[in-house]
Symmetry: C2
Subunit: 323 residues, 2 copies
């Protein structure tokens, strides 16, 4: 295993501590099955419904772990982050539960539903352009001004440990699985899953699913060099951001493979889950489902855990509706 | 308690037997909470998610109880029913699981998604006009020709006992509640709930929620005389049918009150659940939620169980989208 020794990384004990810390503020989300979708693949599929999580997304786990782990003297200046939407929403939820200030730098193009939800939790939105460079520049100003504690959307030990509680619940509820599939953007959920499984279920195969149109993790995984795009275009708006050093550590050492899917495969999978399972998932979640439908041979005959990461969509604009 | 002594009625023992019989074929559906919707009312709300049930609707319970209770010699001729959609779908699911024929008389105006789903389970659809009179006439022909066992959508002991397993699971999981709210059409779910609660939780208040535009149960409850409309118009397409003698027995003896809501209240409640809870419910389910939002004073401070009865909607046409 290659490890950058200068990098601070969370351990499985941090996952255990996170789970105790965040338990009062998160849902232990249900795990649903779908016979129909399972039969399409010849696999037994267990869907971990983080779309039913607080704030509609798994990121409530990492955000609560960071916010409720803050020492009392640090709470007055609050927390801040930049986010394509869901982490900002989750951090706003966590800050609201603890009663501390929160600022969120968010692309002006982020879905209105996510902006509204951040404001509903009392979060302050600072808009930037929809590129990584603009986001980071605007964010630096916000932190300089407020002195807020920076909770990175994914390249943060507290956040990765928090996300690891999701796989912990899956393995507690389901026993050992043959494979777990999760979408990958910056890699927070995948890293937490790797961290937890490395202790609880070391034999499970971990697949990261990514949009072809934002395939930086795929390129990174295949070349061994961190690849980042400035402003990729995909309907899976939660998966546009690149891996960073901490998440790359986990992906490199524990991920079995990165699977990529097209935009139309994402939309078809999203609609399939809505229609058959009667739950609302956002395109990022559908990426994981699409990757399984596309790679039947890889999953046939297996017990597969699928992480449905979030359910925050604009209900006025569904991607399969053309007008 | 007034009882028509000529009427055969299910007992709580039938609910127990039904639960054993149908267990392999149905989901024990999750019960979700929503802090946000609860706070709008000042109540603790527990949502029993029958939208996540097999076939997307609670009716899988009653249908499976009827189909799997058939003696072997009756299975060759199969089962038949008339249905505004969901019972036909659920009966098709049950018949498919047992491998027996099923015919469904369905209004030609029923949602395409429901017709497609009946056919996907191998059911035969026979179309009628969208009125009670046409439905009953066409159905009589079908039964005369096939000799199939008639499984009425709700006025059937086996079906009522099957629906009663839903409230049984709620009380097992949640303990005693102050109130249970369920939508009412023909009254199968409400009757099953009454039957179960009369033994398991006799103090719970049972509210039946109905569209103002199809308020036959409300009129029946208030006047004490069975009222039926031939072809009411409401977005809650599962709730257009009238009470019959068996369901009226349970409604009359055990229901606390019938609450009515407008079409726009139904649509608003439906959208609220989709947006906040990330689950897909059909308009009929939203009727129960709307009735709680409309009658805050009745529910404030209480522990309330809400039955979300189904999730079968046409994903191309959402009622809050104007074009």
């Amino acid at each position: 295993m290659e490890t950058n020794l200068l990098l601070t990384l969370p351990t499985y004990d941090d996952v255990l501590a996170a789970h105790e810390r965040i338990r009062p503020y998160i849902h232990r989300t249900p795990i649903l099955t779908s016979t129909q979708i399972g039969e399409m693949i010849g696999a037994t599929l267990h869907f971990k419904c983080e779309n039913l999580q607080k704030a509609g997304v798994f990121k409530a786990r990492g955000a609560c772990n960071a916010v409720f782990g803050l020492s009392e003297d640090l709470t007055a200046k609050g927390v801040a982050t930049h986010s394509s939407g869901n982490h900002g929403l989750a951090l706003s939820y966590a800050a609201w539960r603890r009663g501390i200030p929160v600022s969120v730098v968010m692309p002006r193009t982020a879905p209105q539903a996510k902006k509204d939800a951040v404001r509903a939790y009392g979060g302050t939105i600072v808009e930037c352009e929809p590129s990584t460079s603009s986001r980071e520049a605007v964010f630096a100003e916000v932190v300089a001004k407020s002195g807020a504690d920076f909770v990175h959307p994914y390249n943060d030990e507290r956040v990765i440990a928090g996300q690891g509680t999701c796989a912990k619940e899956m393995i507690e509820d389901l026993g050992e699985l043959d494979a777990i599939v999760a979408p990958i953007g910056g890699g927070g959920m995948v890293s937490g899953t790797c961290l937890t499984c490395s202790t609880m279920a070391p034999k499970v195969e971990i697949y990261a699913a990514e949009p072809e149109q934002a395939d930086d993790a795929y390129q990174t995984f295949k070349t061994g060099q961190l690849v980042a795009y400035d402003a990729p275009v995909t309907i899976a708006d939660g998966l546009k951001v690149p891996l960073k050093d901490r998440t790359w550590h986990f992906v490199r050492n524990y991920v079995t493979d990165v699977l990529i899917v097209t935009e139309s495969e994402i939309i078809d999978a999203m609609r399939l889950v809505w229609a058959r399972m009667k739950i609302i998932i956002e395109p990022s979640s559908a990426v994981a489902v699409a990757s399984i439908l596309k790679n039947r041979a890889l999953f046939a005959g297996k017990r597969v855990g699928v992480i449905l990461t979030g359910g925050n969509v604009d209900l006025n604009k569904l991607p399969w509706q053309t007008n």
